[in-house]
Amino acid sequence: MESNFIYKEGRLYVILMEKTVKKEDFIGRDFVSIDDFSFDEINFVLNHAKHIEDNFQDYKDNLSRKLMAPLFFEGSTRTNTSFQAAMIHMNGRILDFDVSQSSVKKGEILRDTVKVIERYRPDIMVVRHNLDGSAILVADSVKVPVINAGDGKNQHPTQTLLDLYTIKQIRENINGTKIALIGDLKYGRTVHSLALALSGYSDCEIEFISPDSLKMPAYLLEKLKSKIKFSEYGLERLNNLNKEFNIIYMTRVQRERFPEGPEGKEEYDKVCKEYHLKKQMLKEVDSDFKILHPLPKVHEIEPEIDDMPYAYYFDQLGNGLYIRMALLDLLVKK
């Protein structure tokens, strides 16, 4: 809240106003968690990304001579490529940092590595690392802004932004979205962040659909219960998809989430058999129904669905470009 003071007829009035988010508010800030931005700031980023998408050429020199250090200590194809493309589309430059050739292999600690890279004067760092909390450690260690491109199983906040952007693109308004989050809800960081982010909007409803062993963690349901309407179902719910749903968001179920040995394999195979979206399951859905997936998908969606108008996951992935362009444009000091 911002406040304004008016002195009128011998009285002092204090007027409380919603803070207006400005572009300058973002300069030099880190984005390591979705909580780093307020609700209004998140919406500002989404609108900025939309402006970039609609006026792409206007941004072609926005990061001219600016340098991004992509520090991908863990393999990433899509996120890394999308950040690099975002930088190049705004005429920025990219520091070539290959972790396989770096001192990390010699046992250098992360804090030292990023402090060394900082001496080469990048304007922003983008970090992916396999350990939870690594992005905050990097942000604490350097003065340049840091974007978290995924820290272990913890946060992947740019994915959350692109998911929100995609929902807004599909429905024009995030408020009132009825969405089903499906698959690995226990370990999937994208569905956790998305559910929390959606709870900030009004009149949204979530159905959590998962095998018993991969249900949404209780602590997250506790956090959500006073903020958003939700219900839980087993995978059989996939046979009842109807016009009530605007969007379903599917996630990959990974073999390593199940116990080792034959019992674990049996359970995994059973889930794979049940967790398979087929063309025939979509007979009753609305014409503007959409399917999202953070990708990569494996066997959870029948390949024929890719060609149906409901499949929106490749557009969703493409939206990562506008979101990352928006973030780089806002955080980098010009």
Binding site: S33, L131, D132, G133, G152
Partner: protein
């Protein structure tokens, strides 16, 4: 029962109002077995405030901030008296600090603060009876704490 029977000290510390069953845990964490001064400890004393309590007296000991924070985590609201020349020179209640640096380990084993190669000192924030790791942002309860013993 009168707590005086567990020994008079001239200089040192008295930790009183320790929750029942926690005296030996504190003695172990403070490594009192290696103390040169006389150590007296007792359990099951009557207390008007907490029912039954434990008491610990150590001759010649000075507590560091780290040790005070450890005591607070095990027995919140215990009282610590500093004894000088047979008299109470100072007395205070232990309270869990808002920030615990290097005292408690994050229970999330995948957290960077638990990776020995990264040499990160744990940093845990305490608020509203919940502990939250500064790095991985995981929240946890007191019973999930893992104390880092020096």
């Amino acid at each position: 029962m009168n707590d005086k029977i567990i020994g008079y000290i001239e200089n040192g510390i008295v930790i009183d109002h320790i929750s029942l069953g926690k005296v030996f845990e504190i003695a172990s964490l403070l490594d009192l077995g290696t103390q040169e001064g006389r150590v007296s400890l007792g359990e099951g004393y009557e207390s008007g405030k907490i029912g039954k309590k434990g008491i610990l007296k150590v001759e010649g000991m000075v507590l560091s901030n780290y040790e005070i924070n450890l005591i607070a985590l095990i027995a919140e609201h215990a009282s610590v008296s500093i004894i000088k020349e047979g008299k109470i020179a100072d007395k205070y209640r232990t309270e869990i600090p808002n920030v615990l640096k290097g005292i408690v380990l994050c229970p999330n084993l995948a957290c960077i603060s638990n990776d020995v190669n990264q040499m990160v000192i744990s940093l845990i924030n305490f608020k509203d009876n919940l502990f939250k790791c500064h790095y991985c942002s995981k929240e946890f309860r007191k019973d999930e704490l893992r104390l880092r013993k020096i």
